[in-house]
Structure formats: structure tokens, C-alpha cells
């Protein structure tokens, strides 16, 4: 899943100094600033349609970022991340409708619960790699999918409705307003991405990248590779759960379909479209995916077929992703 061949042999010392990171940075900052201004100003000139579309993009982008932490950063291709998206949504669904807990309590509790579940699942899944990892994550997500349909706790295949949005009446605002909800999602997305960026840039993130490049060598350097992989798995799961919480608040609804493996596949597709290694890639991938999906839904009802064909074309011909293509266009790539 590497989007570029990284030199595994020892690099020439001088080359280390002129890493593309330095050249990319102004570009990244410029896009970042532009994106921030655009994102903040959108509700003032955009139609409601544009606002809801942007909300959807951010939620999907968070989901894709969670997948990217596994696929792009650590090199573990999972086809089961939708289970954590669903768990997050069901977490606050059960918390608010059955336990009648307020959101400030049910959201942290859901995230902790997801982290615990993910640690257990991750401990089993990370014993394998490659296609076996892909298959076992898929199996786990199918198991949760089955459980969500069967259990009375989750109201079976009908799902749970009435998922609450945050109550901002103290500020005189109502989250039912698409623009207000948009700002709420924007704030959560910005904070989450900032935290994610710090994690990827931290020594912990470097170890994850080195596991992707050469797992044996990383282990030989004395890192407990297994623990790092479980750590990445838990963090990725929590990111997906955050996306799931926002998603269920966005639709006021959660049902077993949000754990389907097609959704996991869509997330992987967004990551590939955005470029597996890039920091902002998942967001851009999500944006392209959502826009293409919207565009397709206007011209055809056969979404499934075009999704499949789009997926195949992207995997076959578009490996660096859009972000990689843009970067090579402006000459930032070595």
C-alpha cells in the first residue's frame, strides 16, 4: 500500500537534509490557511446543500484518516474499520436512548469502550499481516454486523433513531441548524486532525512508519513491534469511532449498515484516492469520493456498479492518489 518507493537502503547523508518535507511545507501551510478560511467562511456564502456536503466530507474524511493511520502510516490494510464507526454511533445511541446519559458522558465512555474493544481485536488481528490481516479484520466487522442485527440492545436491523446532537442552547444556538452543526463538526475535525498530526509526527509515529517500511528491521532495533501495531490499531479505531459519533448525530440515526464491509471499502478507496502517505490525503480523498458519489447520484441510480468500476480504476491507475499527482506537478517530489 506504499504510495511511493522509499529508499530502504542507507541514504546518502547529504540527501537527508534536502528531504522534500522542507519544500512541501510552504505549500502545505498555504493550502492549510486557504482551507481554513474557506471552511470558516462557507456558511456565509454557501447554500445549505454545500454546507451539508461539506459536513459529510469532513465526517468521511475523519473516517478515512483513521483508516489511513493503519493503511498509509503502518502499512496494515484493514477491510473492517466500519465496525468501529458503527460502535461509536451505537455507543452514544445506547448511551442516550437506553441509559439516558448526557453526551458529555456518553461520548468519552463510548470512545473508551471502543479503545478497549479495539485493543482486544487488535491483539488478535496484528498476529497476522497482509491478506490474512485484511481477512480477519473483515471477519470481525462481519461479526459485529451480525451482532448489531441480532441483539435487542441495538434494535436489530431497524437501527436506533433519535441520536442527540450537542445541546448548545446555553449559547443561544441550536445544533439542528445545518450551519451550527457544520461548525461543530469542523471544530471536532480540526482538533482530531491536529492530534492525529502530532501522533504521526511523534517518535511513536516514526516507529509506525518504520514498521511499514521494514518490520523485521524495526523489531531488530529493539522496538516491541506488536505493541506499536496494537497501539496504531486502537488509535485508528478511536478515530473511526469519532467519525461514527458525528455520522450518527448528523443523520440522528444509526443502523447495522454503518458496519457493512462496503463502507469499510469506501474508506479504503478514499485513502487510496487521497494518497496513502499524505497527511491531508484522506480529507481530499473523502472530498473527491463524496463529490463523485453526489455527481453520480444525479445521473444514475446504479451507484453500486460505478462505485465498483471507480474503485478498480483508482487501484489500477491512480496509485499515488490525487495528492501525490498534485505534488509531483508542482515539483515537490524528489
Amino acid at each position: 500500500m506504499r504510495s511511493e518507493v522509499v529508499c530502504v537502503k542507507d541514504p546518502i547523508p547529504g540527501q537527508l537534509e534536502t528531504r522534500p518535507a522542507l519544500k512541501v511545507r510552504p505549500f502545505v501551510i498555504a493550502t492549510g490557511v486557504a482551507a481554513t478560511i474557506l471552511a470558516l467562511a462557507l456558511p456565509f456564502f454557501g447554500a445549505t446543500f454545500a454546507i451539508t456536503l461539506a459536513t459529510e466530507i469532513m465526517i468521511s474524511g475523519l473516517f478515512a484518516s483513521g483508516i489511513n493511520l493503519l493503511v498509509g502510516t503502518t502499512g496494515l490494510v484493514s477491510l473492517g474499520q466500519a465496525m468501529f464507526l458503527g460502535l461509536g454511533g451505537y455507543g452514544i445511541g445506547i448511551g442516550s436512548s437506553l441509559l439516558e446519559a448526557p453526551l458529555w458522558l456518553s461520548i468519552p465512555c463510548s470512545l473508551v469502550a471502543v479503545a478497549i474493544v479495539a485493543a482486544a481485536i487488535g491483539a488478535i488481528c496484528t498476529r497476522t499481516r497482509g491478506v490474512e490481516f485484511l481477512l480477519i479484520t473483515l471477519a470481525f466487522s462481519q461479526m459485529f454486523y451480525g451482532a448489531a442485527i441480532k441483539l435487542r440492545l441495538t434494535n436489530g436491523s431497524d437501527g436506533m433513531s433519535g441520536i442527540p446532537r450537542p445541546d448548545l442552547s446555553a449559547l443561544g444556538l441550536s445544533c439542528d441548524d445545518p450551519a451550527i452543526f457544520y461548525y461543530y463538526v469542523l471544530a471536532v475535525t480540526a482538533i482530531t486532525l491536529l492530534v492525529l498530526w502530532r501522533i504521526v509526527e511523534s517518535p511513536f509515529g516514526s516507529v509506525l512508519a518504520s514498521i511499514r517500511e521494514n518490520e523485521r528491521r524495526t523489531a531488530a532495533m529493539g522496538y516491541a513491534v506488536g505493541h506499536y501495531k496494537i497501539g496504531a490499531f486502537v488509535l485508528a479505531a478511536m478515530l473511526c469511532a469519532v467519525a461514527g459519533i458525528l455520522q450518527s448525530q448528523y443523520t440522528y440515526f444509526i443502523n447495522p449498515d454503518s458496519m457493512s464491509w462496503q463502507l469499510s471499502g469506501e474508506g479504503v478507496l478514499m485513502v487510496i484516492v487521497g494518497g496513502a502517505n499524505a497527511a491531508l490525503g484522506p480529507m481530499i480523498g473523502a472530498a473527491i469520493f463524496i463529490l463523485v458519489k453526489q455527481g453520480l447520484s444525479m445521473v444514475t441510480t446504479e451507484y453500486l456498479m460505478f462505485f465498483g468500476i471507480f474503485f478498480m480504476l483508482v487501484v489500477a491507475f491512480f496509485r499515488g492518489g490525487v495528492f501525490g499527482a498534485v505534488r509531483s506537478l508542482i515539483g515537490a517530489r524528489p
Partner: protein, 292 residues
């Protein structure tokens, strides 16, 4: 007791159906290192191709013969024209190829939906097999018995081919050492395409066989293919005999769970997989230390 024997037979019947799918998947993985997530698409293609043949000729047997032809052609062409060139360009790892076939799975389901809508179809059972057979003092549908016999026959034929013929020897050699086989002057690309096609045809055969007892619809392959993955992992990726035993284990687990513990029905098979992964990550019958 009678009920248990009945469930045992039902389990055996489901196992054989799963085996027809799993054997192709495991052959393809063993030889080409490609995890064919689109295997369920061939199941669907076979069923629909059989449906068309059955409705034009009115004969189930014609459908059984012709149904697998379309999956064979699509599978062989996919390998020869798409997967093989991509693998040779070196741009794609086998994980990318797996994701590509994932796209194909949904594209096929969508295409079938475009052509035939999302209605449910069925192929009529042949008259000669629509009765019941008395067996161990109970009456069992002849058609289900036919599925069991067909599955066992395919298993026996495959074992015979793989173990006793030159083609089988080439195939086994290809699994062990691809370069060496190429060096001996064998057109490995052609062999790969044929094996891919045969695997797809077996999945298509399963589709036709399943059509009289299961409903035929556009997404029929998406559900069953996940069960097949469980079989392939439990049996050990690329292990032909393992996939047979694992089909029995998975088919029986599923049937018994449905009969005696309906509340765990949807996840009994996955729980089985997870236990196997904890105890033996390389699969129950896999050679130790195989790195996929």
C-alpha cells in the same frame, strides 16, 4: 436423533456448496498469491448465466453445463488481461490486486442489477431430483443429496487431477517455485489464466447448483463470499485439502448454530475463525510459517 441426522445432512450439503467456492479461491491464492475478493461475483455470474440458459432451454442440466462457461471466460480474461499485466508492471502488490477484485465484486453486483433489476429469481429443480429419498429412516430431498454427491465428486476429481496428472504436477510445482517452472519452459501465464478460470467456473457451478434452493439476486455473491474467506483462512491459504476439511467444519458450524443456537447464528462462523486465528494464525491445516 432423526433431527440431528437431518441437520448433519443439511450441514454436509452447505459444506459442499461452500467447498465449490473455497476450492477456487484457495487454488488462485496458492498459485498466484492473489486474494480474489471478487470470487462471489463468479458465483452470481454462474447463477444468472444458468438462469438465462434454463429459461430459454427449459433444462436444468443445460444450465448446469453452460452456466460455468461465462465465469470461466470472465475469470481467465481478468487474470490474463488485467491482473497479470498489473502484477508484471510491478506497480501493484498482491494487496492492491485484492482491492481491485473488491471493486469488481461490487461492479458485478451493480451490473447484474442494471440488467436484471433487484428482483429475486430461481431456477426450477429438475423433475428427476424434485422428490424425496428415504435415507436412514428419514425422507430427505433428493436435490440436496445431489448437491452433496456433486461436491464430493468435484473434490475427488480435483484431488485426482492435482495428485495424479501432469497438469496437477505443474500446478503443484508452480505453487512451490514459480521461477523454476517458468525456466522449464512452461507458459505460466497461460496456466495461471486457466487455473483462475477453473476456479471461477467452480464458483459459477456452485451458483447454478444453489439456484434451485437459494434465491438468485444481484448481491447473492457478496454475502456468501465472506463465509468462503473464513473457510480459506481456517483451512490455510492455498491449501487444497485444508479447504475441504475447513468447508466441512464451517458448513457444520453454521448449520448446527442455525438449528440449535439461533441467537449466535450470524456470528458463530466468525467466532470459529477468531479462535483459529488465536491458536493457529496460519490456519488449521496450513504449513507452519507460511508468510502470505
Amino acid at each position: 436423533m432423526l433431527l440431528f441426522v437431518l441437520q448433519l445432512l443439511n450441514g454436509l450439503q452447505l459444506s459442499m456448496l461452500i467447498f465449490l467456492l473455497a476450492v477456487g479461491l484457495t487454488l488462485i491464492f496458492g498459485l498466484m498469491n492473489i486474494l480474489n475478493l471478487a470470487h462471489g461475483a463468479f458465483f452470481t455470474l454462474g447463477a444468472y448465466c444458468g438462469l438465462v440458459v434454463a429459461s430459454t432451454t427449459g433444462s436444468f442440466w443445460a444450465a448446469l453445463l453452460v452456466g460455468p462457461v461465462l465465469p470461466f471466460a470472465v475469470g481467465a480474461l481478468l487474470q490474463y488481461c488485467v491482473l497479470q499485466p498489473l502484477a508484471e508492471r510491478g506497480r501493484s502488490t498482491h494487496l492492491d490486486l485484492a482491492l481491485l477484485t473488491f471493486g469488481l465484486l461490487f461492479a458485478t453486483a451493480g451490473a447484474v442489477e442494471l440488467l436484471y433489476g433487484s428482483a429475486f429469481y430461481s431456477i426450477a429443480m429438475p423433475a428427476s431430483l424434485s422428490g424425496h429419498v428415504s435415507l436412514f429412516g428419514l425422507s430427505y430431498p433428493a436435490y440436496r443429496l445431489f448437491i452433496i454427491v456433486a461436491g464430493l465428486a468435484v473434490a475427488a476429481a480435483l484431488l485426482l487431477i492435482v495428485d495424479r496428472t501432469l497438469i496437477g504436477a505443474t500446478l503443484r510445482a508452480g505453487v512451490d517455485n514459480r521461477e523454476m517452472v517458468t525456466a522449464l519452459g512452461i507458459n505460466i501465464n497461460l496456466l495461471f489464466a486457466i487455473v483462475f478460470g477453473v476456479g471461477a467456473a467452480l464458483a459459477g457451478l456452485a451458483g447454478v447448483i444453489a439456484a434451485p434452493i437459494m434465491s438468485v439476486y444481484s448481491q447473492m455473491g457478496i454475502g456468501i463470499v465472506v463465509t468462503t474467506f473464513v473457510v480459506v483462512v481456517v483451512g490455510g491459504l492455498g491449501n487444497l485439502r485444508g479447504s475441504f476439511y475447513a468447508s466441512l467444519i464451517v458448513g457444520m458450524t453454521d448449520t448446527m448454530a442455525q438449528a440449535y443456537l439461533p441467537e449466535v447464528e450470524l456470528f458463530a462462523v466468525y467466532a470459529l475463525l477468531i479462535v483459529v486465528m488465536i491458536v493457529r494464525p496460519q490456519g488449521l491445516f496450513g504449513a507452519a510459517g507460511r508468510v502470505a
